[in-house]
């Protein structure tokens, strides 16, 4: 059977993303940052209206921006997504009807808020009474909304607050190093010490000891 990359791509996207949009947001965000930073670095390099001193800050700032963005975006958003998902899976955060359902079934009642409860699997496998037949759908909709909102907020915090603070600190250091390097490599101009002239020295002595009214 020949390998068809297009069919492989369709299956891959179905398997990984047809249930979970939050996961997709994370990985496409990372790729977006890399592409965007590469283009911005070129824009700075070829902008003749920005002087070298400012470029020495903006270029490292852009590179640090990409690096810090990727690291913080992945760590903060992945952590937030998994954390919020766990809160829903353990029944700690749940819609009213889901909580009612869990409290009415002894198997789940004692495990609400415990790590061993995974509602993603339990609600699908369990034979629920007729009055709770809509509970799996309600749970899924609520959890999906919660994790997507949490992922977006975490993305904003990581890329718009944490990353700028980190990249500014690192880029400022890079600029200082550039300025110091420029100072060290530029030719030094020796400062001339003002020497007292022979004429002025003797003129002062003459003035001090002269008794004549004649002033030169």
């Amino acid at each position: 059977m020949s390998f068809n990359p297009f069919e492989f791509a369709k299956e891959f996207i179905f398997k990984h993303y047809h249930q979970d949009t939050a996961k997709m947001l994370i990985w496409t965000g990372v790729t977006g940052y890399v592409l965007s930073s590469a283009a911005q670095v070129c824009a700075i390099l070829f902008n003749s209206k920005i002087d070298d001193k400012t470029k020495s800050f903006l270029l490292p700032q852009e590179c640090m921006d990409a690096l810090a963005n990727i690291v913080t975006f992945v760590s903060v958003t992945t952590l937030t997504k998994h954390g919020v998902a766990k809160l829903y899976q353990t029944g700690k955060w749940a819609p009213k009807s889901v909580k009612k359902c869990l409290e009415s079934i002894p198997k789940f009642k004692n495990d609400i808020g415990k790590l061993n409860l995974n509602l993603d699997k339990e609600l699908v496998a369990a034979k629920l009474p007729e009055k709770f037949k809509d509970v799996p759908e309600i749970y899924k909709a609520c959890k999906s909304k919660g994790t997507t909102v949490a992922t977006i907020l975490a993305g904003i915090v990581s890329s718009s607050i944490i990353t700028p603070l980190i990249r500014n600190k690192l880029a400022s250091k890079a600029q200082k190093n550039f300025i110091n390097y420029k100072k060290e490599t530029s030719p030094k101009i020796e400062e001339k010490q003002p020497q007292p002239t022979f004429k002025s020295l003797h003129y002062d002595l003459y003035q001090a000891h002269s008794s004549s009214g004649l002033k030169i």
Partner: protein, 210 residues
């Protein structure tokens, strides 16, 4: 490796006990953290559930998602650059102007050139009941199980479309970042710099000295 003891003596059983599993400690710690988080119960109902599904579809839409991220960036990043006292005033001003230009350019191109058109295209190519080959091109037609899930499970098809449109938008971004984003950022940065009172005042100072 756990070795089962043949002796009934408790001591010998413990000698063959399974090695300590560190994951138990991690689980205890995670449980402690989970216990600290307050519980939450959300009001639900048919309308509420429909609202959750609708709004989730909207905010996960690539173009809307880009707009939200752009808005968040515009709210915080320029201020952080403006109050970065590790560099001089001039550098701060240029950095702030470039950040604003980058956010505006990136958001505009992202929404109107990459993500919006990508989603429209994907929507046209993922029609379950489509008649033409083009209208079903992006569906996993060869796999009956996947097609069954996409046709019957709620949100499955819309998530599948969102994923495809985001990936296609990334492919478009490879070109638009260099051909549109970067030049537009440069143009806007220079425009903001030219209109900046602080930078113009600095230029006049330098001219006066000369």
């Amino acid at each position: 490796m756990y070795v089962q003891s043949l002796s009934t003596n408790d001591y010998s059983v413990s000698m063959c006990a399974a090695p300590k599993d560190g994951s138990g400690r991690i689980k205890k710690l995670l449980q402690k953290i989970l216990d600290k988080v307050p519980s939450a119960t959300f009001e639900d109902g048919k309308k509420k559930v429909e609202w959750w599904e609708k709004s989730n579809k909207v905010i996960a839409h690539p173009a809307v998602n880009r707009l939200i991220m752009g808005g968040g960036a515009l709210a915080f990043q320029p201020a952080i650059d403006k109050f970065n006292h590790r560099v001089d005033e001039e550098t701060r001003e240029v950095a702030k102007n470039r950040t604003i230009a980058k956010i505006i350019a990136g958001t505009f191109v992202g929404i109107f050139v990459a993500r919006g058109p990508a989603y429209t295209l994907v929507n046209k190519m993922t029609q379950i009941n489509g008649k033409s080959k083009f209208s079903k091109m992006l569906l996993p037609n060869h796999n009956k199980d996947m097609m069954k899930v996409l046709s019957t499970v709620k949100e499955s098809l819309s998530n599948y479309k969102l994923a495809w449109s985001t990936f296609i938008a990334l492919g478009i971004m490879v070109f638009t970042n260099f051909l549109l984003d970067a030049p537009l950022t440069k143009y806007l940065t220079n425009k903001f710099n030219a209109n900046s009172k602080l930078l113009n005042a600095k230029k006049e100072e330098v001219n006066d000295v000369i």
